[in-house]
């Protein structure tokens, strides 16, 4: 958490100076990526990573800042996607209402936010494993409901041909525009999370995580902070969900099936839950493994059938070596290299 603790009066310039060189390099690299990456890598690997990263980021807000492991984030994202498909246009004209984007996108965000808040309000009165169980139960209920409900959610088939509006006369499903669209959304979400972590609300939330009773004694409403964290996280997940639907051009019950719900947790844990960059690292690893695992199997002379095995083993390896994910590995490496740093927190500054 070293990153997010307040420092000496942050003026604008000081903020810029405090951006580490690695971030500049990463930023330039990401902006220049279309110059040397193939369309497939841009759209399917990076686009998908940014989207999954955003959804996992919303979990990171809850788990990292708030100490609440929620499994509802993928469901919130899928709900936003469903609302876009139902209120906007899709390949199922009997159900889709065809409202313009300036109406259905904000509505999707708001509805997903309300849903997330509602689930949060139910879940925050529990701790630990019970939070996981309540959110998982609601996620499972949502999955089965969408699969059985034909009037609104179109059952197993879901909605296809859900495509983004043509802003500025650009086809946003082309690789390069979609890459920049997701990059921009991911960056904004990332900055929003970094920022919220430094606001009084974010600090109080972290206080609630560390010692709810003391925060309560100091006059902070523990419940309100937690519920508000769900609200904030839901907005990020909702944006991720809408992008996900545009990427696949479809939303089906399987978008938020139980495996997908668990995947988000895996992504966040593998990347590292302690800082906002973690989920994106986890999502990138996940995307690479999901797409290339059958090639990896073929490369070592096995049949590609058990492609999920590679994905699973990859994650086991990361979590086995480092309980706090890839970020933890990096932190430990840093701490070992410069022993004068705080080995426990492993902060980079």
């Amino acid at each position: 958490m070293a990153d997010v603790l307040p420092r000496s009066e942050p003026g604008r310039l000081i903020v810029l100076e405090r951006i580490p060189p690695a971030a500049w390099v990463l930023g330039v690299l990401l902006l220049a990526m279309p110059a040397f990456a193939s369309n497939f890598v841009l759209y399917q690997i990076f686009g998908w990573s940014f989207i999954l990263g955003m959804i996992a980021l919303s979990l990171m807000v809850l788990a990292g800042y708030g100490g609440m492991v929620s499994l509802i984030q993928m469901t919130v994202a899928a709900l936003a996607g469903y609302v876009v498909a139902i209120l906007g246009t899709s390949g199922v004209p009997q159900i889709s209402l065809g409202w313009p984007w300036w109406l259905h996108i904000p509505l999707a965000i708001v509805i997903a936010m309300l849903f997330g808040t509602l689930v949060g309000a139910l879940a925050v009165r529990t701790e630990g494993i019970y939070t996981i169980m309540i959110t998982l139960a609601i996620a499972a209920a949502f999955f089965y409901f969408t699969r059985q409900n034909y009037g609104i959610f179109n059952g197993y088939t879901g909605f296809n041909n859900v495509i983004p509006p043509r802003w500025f006369d650009i086809d946003w499903r082309q690789s390069v525009p979609f890459y920049y669209l997701t990059l921009a959304c991911a960056t904004l979400s990332y900055l929003a999370v970094v920022w919220i972590g430094r606001t009084p609300f974010g600090l109080a939330l972290q206080g609630v995580r560390d010692n709810p009773r003391r925060m309560s004694a100091l006059g902070f409403s523990v419940t309100a902070h937690r519920i508000l964290a769900y609200t904030f996280a839901s907005v990020i997940a909702a944006f991720g969900g809408i992008l996900l639907v545009w990427q696949n051009a479809q939303v089906v019950p399987g978008t938020a099936g139980i495996p997908q719900v668990i995947d988000i947790l895996v992504i966040a844990v593998v990347g590292g839950l302690r800082r906002p960059i973690g989920p994106f690292i986890g999502a990138f690893i996940y995307a690479i493994l999901s797409v290339f695992s059958s090639d990896i199997l073929h490369a070592i002379g096995m049949s590609g059938e058990r492609f999920k095995l590679v994905v699973g083993l990859g994650f086991l390896a990361v979590v086995g070596f480092s309980p706090d994910g890839v970020l933890g590995l990096w932190d430990r490496y840093q701490a070992r290299r410069e022993t004068n740093r705080d080995a426990l927190l492993g902060g980079r500054r």
Binding site: A22, V25, L26, L29, L30, M33, F36, A37, S38, N39, F40, V41, Y43, Q44, I45, F46, G91, Y144, R147, Q148, Y150, G155, Y156, T157, N160, N161, N248, A249, Q250, V252, G254, T255, F280, I281, F284, I285, I288, V291, F292, S294, D295, H298, S303, G304, E305, R306, F307, K308, V326, W330
Partner: protein
């Protein structure tokens, strides 16, 4: 930085794909290897290998190279893997997919790559080639509705089962396959007492089994793969004794050769599909022999599954098409597309050609499950319906008026049933 290393790794992985030479044709096999149809998917891969081996991996004078893209029967994964095949592995032709909803997703995806070709694997949803079909999507196997043809008439007129409750898979193929049965059944004057639907990939059927009515002549089961085995297990445990009618993937070799006793409940069950194990036609017998010789007994099914036959027939069509144009895929594969549309391809199931929607017509076999002396099960052919068209012999307008396959289509009464 991690991200950069990853990107570098991704680029490195991409290089072999870009190196494909002009005198090879790359074919991507899109096939489900996870989920309910994993066994059928594996058989699909085997059969494509067999078809290619029979022509020495050459078609149209060019070497055929294959890449397998595994899916898990969901449309999202199918689309992602198809993109990977086209954009990353640079394949010219996609052979697949396996499952119904994947097929609909591939119809939509193929429209975005008009200069490539998608030849179906064994997916059988009607909509794939019926609603808004794609000009570069070809299906040389019959769809799920066609597979059901003949069965309804057989159970009413030969078996005398007139009151039937149905349990079918709650997705596009399930509806389609059910429709094929129901159209024949209702036209023959049958009565559909109750229609129950179970989600694909279910493990708990207790609720549905409890809802099955007792006073029916038989129960139609339109599920497949592991779902079929799970259902039979639980149905027996619940003490179910009713006569069964099987959908086209209910008594497939992947089910008949599963472990355990559950499958014994299927003995005597009539089903229909485009595969009959004991089809006496010489081309079928030759194919089964080739299949059995190509793979060691523990690495294959005793006889090719419906899924495998689908991939085999579509692979044969691809090879024949490539031969027709002498491997010329230039000019956005236009010549290849035209050749496929007009192709009359000789297959183990007889000659197959496509209609204006690039959908095959052909024969459907009604079979009954019977026990062999050694205790194993196989399908015995009892009837055969030739030249089943996409519209099941109706005019296109009459077929369209019936509505698309869904939980409530077809309306049995409108077809003359009860």
């Amino acid at each position: 930085m991690k991200r950069f290393i990853g990107a570098a790794a991704a680029l490195a992985l991409m290089l072999p794909g870009a190196a494909a030479a002009q005198d090879t044709i790359k074919v991507g096999i899109l096939v489900a290897t996870e989920g309910a149809f994993a066994a059928g998917g594996a058989d699909g891969i085997r059969n494509v290998e067999l078809a290619l081996k029979q022509v020495g991996n050459m078609a149209g004078g060019k070497k055929i190279e294959t890449v397998v893209a595994p899916t898990d029967t969901t449309p999202a994964t199918a689309t992602r893997m198809a993109r990977k095949l086209i954009e990353q592995d640079k394949v010219d032709i996609i052979l697949g997919p396996l499952s119904g909803s994947e097929g609909i997703a591939m119809r939509d995806y193929s429209k975005t790559v008009p200069d490539k070709t998608v030849i179906n694997g064994i997916s059988g949803a009607l909509e794939t080639t019926w609603v808004d079909p794609s000009p570069n999507f070809f299906r040389f196997n019959l769809d799920g509705a066609q597979w059901g043809a003949g069965l309804g008439d057989y159970v009413v007129n030969k078996k005398g089962w007139k009151k039937v409750a149905t349990v079918s898979a709650d997705y596009s193929f399930g509806y389609t396959n059910f429709l094929g049965f129901a159209v024949g059944f209702c036209k023959a004057g049958g009565e559909l007492v109750e229609r129950l639907w179970v989600p694909l990939g279910s493990s708990d059927f207790a609720g549905v089994i409890a809802k099955l009515p007792d006073d029916v002549d038989a129960i139609y089961l339109g599920v497949g793969g592991t779902d079929a085995i799970n259902f039979l297990n639980q149905y027996q445990q619940a003490g179910g004794k009713a006569k069964l009618i099987g959908g086209s993937i209910m008594a497939d070799p992947t089910v008949l050769n599963s472990k355990g006793k559950a499958k014994d409940a299927l003995i005597g069950t009539p089903t229909s599909g485009w595969v009959a194990n004991d089809n006496p036609a010489p081309e079928w017998q030759a194919y089964v022999k080739a299949y059995q010789e190509a793979f060691p007994a523990d690495k294959r099914l005793p006889s090719p599954s419906l899924f495998g036959v689908g991939y085999y027939v579509n692979a044969l069509a691809m090879i024949a098409g490539l031969n027709e144009v002498k491997g010329d895929l230039s000019d956005g594969q236009k010549k290849f597309h035209a050749a496929l549309s007009k192709l009359k391809v000789k297959t183990p199931l007889g000659e197959i050609s496509l209609n204006e929607n690039r959908q095959a017509s052909g024969s459907v076999f009604v079979t009954e499950v019977s026990a062999n002396p050694d205790g194993s099960l196989s399908n015995k052919m009892v009837a055969r319906v030739d030249n089943v068209t996409q519209t099941l012999g109706m005019t296109a307008d009459a077929f369209r008026a019936m509505g698309l396959p869904s939980r409530t289509t077809p309306d049995c009464k409108a077809l003359g049933g009860k």
